[in-house]
Amino acid sequence: MSILRRKEFFVVMIVFISIFIYIPYFFEVPQALTNLENWFMDTIVIIAAFAVWVGFITATRREVVRIQRRRKGWFYAVVILVLSWAMVVIGLGVSKTNVIFEFLQYAFVLPGDSTIYAILVFYLTSAGARAFRVNSLESALLTFGALFVLLKQAPLGEVLAPWAGPMAIYLQDTIAMAATRVFSVSLAIGSVVLAIRLMLGQEMALVGLVRRVASREEE
């Protein structure tokens, strides 16, 4: 199995995969190539579905160790273990429409998710109140932009300050849009270049060949 430890094997594999994904996208190709491309896309979905188990197994292992060693607060580890295993056993063993499975979702997952999102409004209010303290040109611009949009968005604002609307729309559709656009373009360029570097065998850390890369940095 020594071939699995060689960098060249993986470079060839990456180049092979990349070519079969890019070529059918840009060129009109025979059906066989398209089928291969479809197989790759199908396969990565299946791999993603199995990868979930890696997280589950490592989490289980960690919590078991916490309980075995009676670490401080080990009973919380029991909570994680019992709930995650209960979900898996009931959901897969019985059915995903089982009463207890849905009960656990309604009791923990749904309220947990909603709560954290709602908590953000509190943090945003306090962070906002601090961010909008005008003490430099930057913060003045920040405040100015936020003020107009807040005035426009609240339905009440449209009645009390009708002049804020057009200004806010102007800012949203020009300045904010331009900034977001450059942001997305520059990140997209970053992704394209990363993909090319991967194809050229420059990012082997990303496929698990970490040590070689880390030691090269050290040189």
Binding site: A48, V52, V54, V109, D113, I116, A127, I189, R197, A205
Partner: protein, 263 residues
């Protein structure tokens, strides 16, 4: 109207040209190995200061490569580079490094890579025994479960520094505000533009979008990665050129550039 050259799929010509130009430039810079000039991003000083602070206070450091919601992308790679650099400094200064993993349904591969990277850095510093995989726990593939566990960890461990660079969604403000509350120095980097105003208020240092990629490349000290930044700059200049040309020609009712881009 579009230009159509068989066998290129209709409407894909411009993308193909863009891709090939990027490929040629990257290949050239990878071959060349010449390290270009790079503006030092202030974030790097911030990271070093953060580690220094933790050493002084004798408290742990908490760092995360983000939640990588769409698998491994450019921002996640930058996050991993910064995590790896942080791990190196932590190992060198005998600091405990906490790193909550997870955050999205695609974070499993990122988690494995991050664990490998951190472990390798500890090994390279000769502090293999100091690495503890339990300090890099998996907090589920769900954004908010991960975020609340992250915050719980901060409440209990009271880290001196919180470095959160990578893809961060809404939970970034939550994490950085709690970090601010427990007295940690917060260094954040995000691709989520709408969060930045708030992150700026609750963090000590924010990396804005691509700044993160530059910092990651700078810290990796890998000439290839640094050259990438040069490639990106050139691509941006090319796009600016196309943009100016397009605006001018379109103002005179000539749609040549639009046609080319649509091809």
């Amino acid at each position: 109207m579009v230009i159509h050259i068989s066998p290129i799929v209709e409407g894909k010509l411009s993308g193909l040209i863009f891709f090939l130009v990027a490929l040629a430039l990257t290949a050239y810079y990878v071959q060349n190995k010449k390290v270009p000039y790079i503006r030092r991003v202030p974030a790097i000083d911030a990271i070093e200061e953060g580690i220094g602070r933790a050493t002084e206070l004798g408290k742990p450091v908490i760092a995360s490569p983000g939640m990588s919601p769409s698998g491994i992308g450019a921002s996640t790679v930058a996050g991993l580079s910064i995590l790896s650099y942080t791990a190196k400094l932590c190992a060198r200064n005998d600091l405990r490094l906490l790193s909550p993993m997870g955050g999205s349904a695609e974070s499993y591969t990122t988690m494995e890579l991050a664990r490998d990277l951190v472990e390798t850095q500890y090994k390279l510093e000769g502090k293999e025994a100091a690495f503890n995989i339990d300090d890099m726990p998996f907090f589920s593939g769900r954004q908010f479960a991960w975020a609340s566990a992250y915050c719980g960890m901060m409440l209990r461990e009271k880290p001196a520094t919180n470095i959160m660079v990578g893809v961060q969604y809404a939970s970034a403000v939550y994490i950085s505000e709690v970090g601010h509350e427990v007295g940690a120095m917060v260094i954040s980097g995000t691709t989520y533009l709408s969060n930045i105003a708030c992150l700026a208020a609750s963090s000590d240092y924010v990396m804005i979008g691509e700044e993160m990629l530059a910092a990651g490349a700078y810290l990796s000290r890998d000439p290839g990665q640094l050259a990438t930044i040069r490639t990106q700059d050139i691509m941006k200049m090319v796009l600016i050129g196309i943009l100016i040309l397009g605006v001018i020609t379109l103002s005179f009712a000539n749609e040549a550039v639009i046609t080319l881009l649509s091809s």
